[in-house]
């Protein structure tokens, strides 16, 4: 977190993360080019360019598959959370790899004197009514445009400017981009490539991402089941000791947002489960150095009043708590962000 503007807040973890990513991409591209050149040695400049188009295109698809797997994986298993921490850099790198794929594709059309032909193909409207024969380049252009918009708005400035809710909704477009990439390849390269490797790569990648998202969705649906309520509508959390020390139990009012009820020794506080940064699940974090810490990017808030430590100005909504018949109860109506509302037992 930052109290002022910084282009990138580099940390050792981010540098290592980015370094490993760049190395992995470079190894994949080099390996692909070597293997492809051995299987089909380039006979002229055009076939040489095609190898590069395929190398960067397949790298883009695999990177998108990995990015879209990180979210559900970290919901299903906390050990994947470190991958989520710097996922935006992964996304921006994917955009640059996709851009290189586009550059080589344009180079191929230029070498073929085929740019006017591409333009004619893209505006040949009857072809858009076909399935086989659909201008697959248009699908690639649409996917690339989405990646461009997402890379351009990836910075925290846009997150703050647009609000986390709007920013997250905008970045859901990545799913559409992934579907467009799938169909771009299915209606393009797959129509001429007769090997098994391409359908296996595409089908396997999409199936993996789909299964992970469905599993994570089912898990989240269970967690959205409403918490039992008392006669006056307060949510019954349970005995104070049932809340793990330095961690939270998450409760849900019917039709409402999740509430994270944290215990720090003998003190209990309830905060909105939505981190001010990216609406991350605060309640899945823990208390570090006396501060409730978001598991996604480490944003911190005081348990007492939901305020971030100085000089930061972020505040979470808090909730009234009480002890009744040995059980902690929480009022589902939020207090204004930054209101002190803890109890001791």
């Amino acid at each position: 977190m930052s109290a002022g503007y910084r282009a990138v807040q580099w940390t050792r973890f981010k540098i290592v993360y980015d370094g490993v990513l760049i190395l992995a991409v470079a190894i994949y591209i080099a390996g692909f080019l070597i293997a492809d050149s051995r299987l089909e040695p380039p006979t002229d400049r055009l076939t040489g360019i095609i190898h590069y188009v395929h190398a960067f295109g397949s790298a883009t698809f695999l990177m998108l598959t990995a990015i879209l797997s990180i979210g559900p994986l970290s919901r299903l298993d906390r050990r994947f959370l470190p991958l989520l921490y710097n996922r935006r850099h992964f996304g921006v790198l994917t955009f640059f790899v996709a851009m290189t794929h586009v550059a080589f594709a344009i180079d191929w059309f230029v070498a073929m004197d085929g740019l006017p032909g591409l333009a004619i193909e893209l505006i040949n409207w009857p072809d858009y009514g076909k399935f086989i024969g659909f201008p697959f380049e248009a699908l690639g252009i649409a996917a690339f445009t989405i990646l461009l918009i997402m890379a351009a708005t990836s910075h925290d400035f846009w997150l703050s400017f647009l609000s986390p809710t709007v920013w997250k909704a905008l970045h859901l477009a990545l799913y559409l981009a992934y579907a467009l990439v799938m169909m771009h390849v299915a209606l393009g390269a797959l129509q001429t490539d007769q090997t098994l490797s391409l359908p296996l790569l595409l089908g396997g990648g999409f199936a993996t991402v789909s299964v992970l998202h469905v599993l994570a969705g089912q898990r989240e649906r269970k967690r959205d089941a409403p918490t039992p309520v008392g006669r006056d509508g307060w949510l019954i959390v349970g005995a104070p000791q049932s809340i793990p020390d330095k961690r939270a139990r998450i409760v849900v009012a019917r039709g409402g947002e999740r509430i994270a009820v944290f215990r720090d020794g003998a003190r209990i506080g309830a905060l909105s489960n939505l981190c001010t940064h990216q609406n991350g699940p605060i309640g899945e974090g823990c208390i570090i150095d006396g501060y409730v810490t978001c598991p996604w990017h480490g944003y911190q808030f005081r348990l007492a009043d939901g305020c971030a430590p100085q000089p930061f100005t972020d505040k979470l909504a808090t909730y009234r708590l009480r002890l009744r018949a040995g059980a902690v109860e929480v009022d589902p109506q939020p207090l204004p962000p930054g209101t002190a509302a803890t109890i001791e037992f």
Binding site: A179, L202, F206, H213, E220
Partner: protein, 52 residues
């Protein structure tokens, strides 16, 4: 994630899976067959009987 965001996720993915799975399967099933390998040139063994 907000409740709305989670609901969008849960609604979006099944629809996306069906659309892409159908599109991908059709693209695979309807792709043109591989071009047959070029036949090697056959040497003529008999003189042509056709007359100009």
């Amino acid at each position: 994630m907000t409740r709305t965001h989670r609901m969008m996720h849960r609604a979006l993915w099944p629809a996306l899976i069906i659309i892409v799975a159908v599109g991908f399967t059709l693209a695979l099933a309807l792709r043109p067959p591989a071009a047959p390998p070029e036949a090697p040139p056959v040497a003529r063994t008999q003189p042509s009987t056709s007359q100009p």
